[in-house]
């Protein structure tokens, strides 16, 4: 395996540790959800982010709590990278009253406005205009905040993609559109469903910058996001970043994934794995020692175990909660 090239990225030790920790939190969280789902402990539809960690972490490394993101049906990774509480997230997926949305939203509808997380979304392509509205707010109020719209390759063929990116371009909004191209819209290959060679190419049509990066390389994502976010903060408008990535699990838990080839699945869990590559980079660059990494790993595993315990011990929402939170007045 080649060591990642740093391409002008100079991480401090704290940044490196934060990024490694967040990527691991996502992986451990998702692996745990996978396990709990398989055991029948978690119900419903769950779409896991494992394998795509470098995208959420590489982008969110540049964001503060006042910057906003919109997420997708595969949103756990975005939530974690944006700083949502692991206990509250896990409890939400458990459908418990202590969840971030009182256990009434579930996996696909996690939101935490205090962290600038505008919400995961059950509808493909749901985030584009929302991110524009958030960015228009920042522009109107003359803050230097930005909005990031994460979306999958499936959404790049949805009508809202066009409406949202065009709006951002004509109004010069501080939005970064981050495509997570994991190769499959549900089970349909990107090449079948998209007329473009790359999603980044579509930026030309909106007269905004578009770049494609290796979404398994957290440094490449970090670098592209840094440029785009700085442009947006300077008032220079939107950017489209396409991150080439891969999901380790199916479209949803229970998906037989017959559309994926075995060697492809395997290499993404080994030499192409974003966390393995980043860990090797950190060691080679002497940014963190084996011991330091091990202590992060241990602490993340503990945090996930704590989140599960917290969720299991939490109560379900009470019956009368059924009729609340529909309007501001009730």
């Amino acid at each position: 395996m080649e060591v990642l090239q740093n391409k002008g990225v100079a991480l401090t030790q704290d940044q490196a540790r934060w990024m490694y920790r967040k990527m691991l939190e996502i992986r451990e969280f998702e692996d745990k959800v996978h396990e709990l789902f398989a055991q029948g402990i978690l119900p419903g539809f769950v779409h896991l982010y494992a394998g795509e960690e470098a995208v959420a972490v590489g982008v969110c490394a540049h964001l503060n709590d006042k910057d906003t993101i919109t997420s997708t049906h595969r949103g756990h990774g975005h939530c974690i990278a944006k700083g949502c509480d692991l206990d509250g997230m896990m409890a939400e997926i458990y459908g418990k009253a202590t969840g971030l949305c009182k256990g009434k939203g579930g996996s696909m509808h996690i939101a935490d406005l205090n962290k600038g997380m505008l919400g995961a979304n059950g509808i493909v392509g749901g985030g584009f205009p929302l991110a524009c509205g958030s960015a228009l707010t920042a522009k109107y109020k003359k803050t230097d905040n930005v909005s990031v719209c994460f979306f999958g390759d499936g959404a790049n063929n949805h009508g809202t993609f066009h409406e949202g990116i065009n709006l951002a371009a004509i109004w010069n909004l501080p939005v970064i559109f981050v495509a997570e191209n994991n190769g499959y819209a549900e089970a349909t290959p990107f090449e079948y469903a998209s007329s473009c060679k790359t999603i980044a190419d579509r930026a030309i049509g909106y007269n905004i910058p578009g770049v494609r990066v290796d979404g398994k390389n957290v440094l490449a994502v970090y670098k592209a996001a840094e440029e785009a976010i700085q442009r947006a903060r300077r008032g220079e408008g939107p950017t489209l970043i396409e991150c080439m990535t891969y999901r380790n699990y199916g479209h949803f838990e229970g998906d037989a994934q017959t559309y994926k080839a075995e060697p492809e699945k395997k290499e993404h869990k080994q030499e192409k794995d974003a966390i393995i590559q980043f860990k090797k980079y950190l060691l080679t660059q002497r940014l963190l020692t084996e011991n330091e990494l091990a202590s992060v790993e241990e602490s993340v595993i503990e945090a996930i175990q704590r989140a599960v315990r917290f969720s299991e011990e939490s109560p379900y929402p009470k019956e009368d909660e059924l009729l609340t939170d529909v309007y501001v007045s009730y």
Binding site: G105, I123, E186, T188, E319
Partner: protein, 341 residues
């Protein structure tokens, strides 16, 4: 594909049946249509190579080719609009929307084109297409995936709406929908997809659109429901019978146009009605049924009509789902209320 080819009925040598679930009956219905009518096509997300997220289209692309069983991008407005274009040119598309809750991006196409082209063209064109959509709660999926928004479509002149609750009706209504020269939305109860099996005839048969079905004879109260609520109503009727209340059960099967006669005939006999649907109360189809009873059978009523429905909130996540949905217990309460009025 030979457009001029006539629709051909393949005669069955002898009456045979298969023991199928609802989703298998839907699959068999589509297979029958593809076999017997060269103008039938299927479009949808992951319906071809993958066989559909609920396996409703399993094996169809393999058998009939990618020209007739077409995988689309995730683009619901595109799926419906393309189907309209095919339909006005002589094809008979079946458009699958993966979940009814995913139909909203396509609602514009349905409202502005599917349902209106007939009238807009002064009767020159019709849109002989079927939209299939799994709907409903009770499978522990989050809100949008659990929606039961039939009245968004029954309120739309120009489109018919059917909703089978059994494998036999699923296949028969699907074929009837496709043979209907106007557009039909078929809502398929997700929760019942694999819940029961029954004998379903092989080959072609239809269940008439606009006709309800009396599932059970009774004398004290008429229970009216459709789709996944049929199971709930049947359980409630059993419980009520133990309390000495005789229930007549009607499966509406078609939600537009509603079978007024079957409702009127039954309510005029029993003098009481309980309507059960999982959709929210306000603007729910129960209100139209109340109006039909009012128009046809008011003087026969021995008690105000009762509606047992979902609440006026989005379908909640699983912990509260059972509190949202009508249960046999809630239906029995409704029955007792009208019987002991």
């Amino acid at each position: 594909m030979a457009m001029e080819m006539e629709v051909k009925d393949i005669p069955q040598k002898k009456e045979t049946t298969q023991f199928l679930t609802i989703v298998q009956a839907v699959n068999d219905g589509m297979k029958t249509l593809l076999e017997t009518d060269d103008t039938v096509m299927i479009l949808g997300e992951d319906i071809g190579k993958n066989g559909g997220v609920f396996r409703a289209t399993e094996g169809l692309q393999e058998k009939f080719g990618a020209d007739r069983v077409i995988d689309t991008p995730l683009a619901e407005a595109g799926i419906i609009g393309t189907s309209v274009g095919l339909a006005v040119n002589g094809f008979k598309p079946i458009a699958e929307i993966q979940f009814l809750g995913f139909i909203y991006p396509a609602y514009e196409q349905i409202m502005t084109h599917v349902s209106r082209i007939r009238m807009r063209t002064m009767g020159h064109f019709s849109v002989p297409m079927v939209i299939r959509a799994p709907y409903g709660a009770g499978i522990r999926s989050p809100e949008i995936h659990s929606d039961s928004t039939e009245t968004l479509f029954t309120h739309m002149p120009g489109i018919k709406v059917v909703c089978p609750s059994t494998p036999y009706d699923a296949k028969g209504l699907l074929i009837a929908a496709m043979e209907d020269p106007d557009p039909v939305l078929m809502l398929e109860p997700m929760k019942s997809y694999r819940a029961k099996r029954e004998e379903v005839p092989t080959g072609k048969y239809t269940v008439e659109i606009g006709k309800g079905k009396k599932v059970k004879e009774g004398t004290d109260v008429t229970l009216i429901a459709w789709g996944a609520m049929m199971t709930v109503v049947e359980k409630a009727a059993e419980q009520a019978e133990k309390k000495g209340i005789s229930c007549e059960i009607i499966d509406l099967r078609t939600l537009y146009p509603i079978d007024r006669e079957i409702i009127a005939e039954s309510v005029q006999k029993t003098g009481r009605a309980v309507i059960v649907h999982e959709a929210q109360l306000t603007g729910g189809l129960g209100n139209d049924i109340v109006s039909i009873i009012n128009d046809t059978s008011f003087l026969y009523l021995r008690a105000p009509i009762e509606r047992v429905t979902g609440f006026d909130v989005p379908v909640p996540f699983f912990a509260l789902e059972e509190d949202f949905l009508p249960t046999p217990a809630r239906v029995v309460e409704g029955i007792e209320k009208v019987v002991h009025f």
